[in-house]
Symmetry: C2
Subunit: 274 residues, 2 copies
């Protein structure tokens, strides 16, 4: 292949260089100073982030590992996204990825910064209250992308909502589905109320089924934590509680699955109205 990186000189760095250290830190639990940053670990992540127009802060590659035509093409594409390009040895690269297959390219990027304005005109939102498992948060994001849910509101945050595990489970939807955190349930309820949202609580004690509910849009679906469900502050006696019928030995579904079933039903209903 045309070894494109030989045409330019790129600084070769080791694992202790600040940029490499930042990537290693982000692959773990991250740190406060890295809030809003992530690693694009794998071709699919690089591709989704590039398509989403995310700001790439640095690009790190390992010449030894880039041996295909495809790699050369992608190298050219991704190096155009940033001026900070570094070269590393294979041994160092192995410390900058969580993948078993060493794909030879990685990057540090900035998450989009969403505000309430990104949700103006929203017709359907998901609210995650106290979810603890990154995989479940990522799964809901992936479903929101698929169903065309306009965004995700987060309250009582128990897990990092932008961790590598969330990104992976979301298959990149974490880069494109607006996600906004609220400091309290009250603040979130007020925000929804001011914008005319009907709020639906996913609650296994509900009497009404999800598939016969006459949803009113704009609508928000609240899903609660894996262990404790939805927090009490959502209930005031006038709430819309809806459930998925349970016909077996368990009293609940996986929260990512349950939220997905609710959100697709609501989305199909909304799109039938439009």
């Amino acid at each position: 292949m045309d070894e494109i990186w030989k045409k330019n000189r790129y600084l070769e760095i080791g694992a202790s260089h600040p940029e490499a250290a930042r990537i290693r830190r982000l692959l773990g639990d991250g740190s406060a100073e890295d809030a809003g940053l992530c690693v694009l670990d794998g071709y699919w992540a690089l591709e989704k982030a590039a398509n989403a127009g995310m700001k790439v802060l640095s690009f790190v590659f390992c010449p030894e590992l880039l041996t295909s035509e495809e790699a050369g093409r992608l190298f050219k594409k991704y190096t155009e996204l940033t001026g900070n390009v570094y070269s590393v040895s294979k041994k160092t690269f192995a410390r900058l990825t969580e993948r078993d297959d060493l794909v030879g390219m990685t990057a540090c990027a900035e998450f989009p910064r969403w505000t309430g304005e990104d949700l103006s005109g929203a017709k359907l939102l998901a609210v995650l209250d106290g979810l603890e498992t990154p995989g479940n948060i990522g799964t809901v994001l992936r479903t929101c992308d698929g169903a065309g849910v306009d965004g995700v509101l987060v309250v009582n945050r128990k897990a990092k909502i932008r961790s590598q595990k969330v990104i992976k489970a979301s298959m990149g939807a974490a880069f494109t589905v607006p996600m906004i955190e609220f400091s309290s349930v009250g603040e979130c309820r007020d925000w929804l109320s001011a914008r005319g949202f009907s709020v639906y609580l996913a609650d296994t004690r509900a009497e009404r089924d999800y598939d016969t509910e006459p949803y009113r849009f704009p609508a928000a679906l609240v899903a609660g934590s894996e262990r404790y469900g939805i927090s009490r502050d959502w209930y005031d006696g006038s709430e819309n509680m809806i459930k998925i019928p349970m016909r077996g030995i368990s009293d609940s579904l996986n929260v990512g699955v349950a939220a997905s079933i609710f959100l697709y039903e609501m989305s199909q209903r909304l799109h039938a109205e439009l």
Copy 2:
């Protein structure tokens, strides 16, 4: 508490005793000779297995760890399920569990052995073709339990369908939802055809949407592997392909989520007919 185990003498064993060794083996990837066996790792698993009437081969407990009234009650219940009761030290118990919290009780049990007869009269089945991730298999089982799906047929098996990971993700549904493996797609299709099943293939290329399809029961929903989808042997030109509309950047949902959305839609439709 009433230290109930002091009333009887139980053999104290170490980690190398054949029973302890079998439990340790089953917690890993298991082995051929253990086919059909599993570990009940945690109170919830012991409880679900007891309720499901599973055959318990041995029960192992750690006296030091059983300090609550609740533990005494459960000890009595589970020791009634088998004559093979062993006592272990805390150090040994830690090697017989994958849990961080040492609950002090575990057991080795036999999965129910399902046959085609367990599915006589079935109206709704799931078919898993080549699924690779134990968590996805377990999630589908949990949803089948919730939705009242009568059973799961497995073809092109790529993962152990009765591993500890499957059991955990299924929240015990792996003990109660009949699961039958077929050696080929042809054999599975013939089985379904002989019983009058309409077969629906979950395929992102389908033209028909899952929520407007006029399902005919008995019905089977085929979900394909995470990477390759449904294998070609299912397609003969006359197949029913259905899809979940995708409105975002991804071309698919998590397979456990997608199967759950299809199966709940079908189940709700079936129960509306009944």
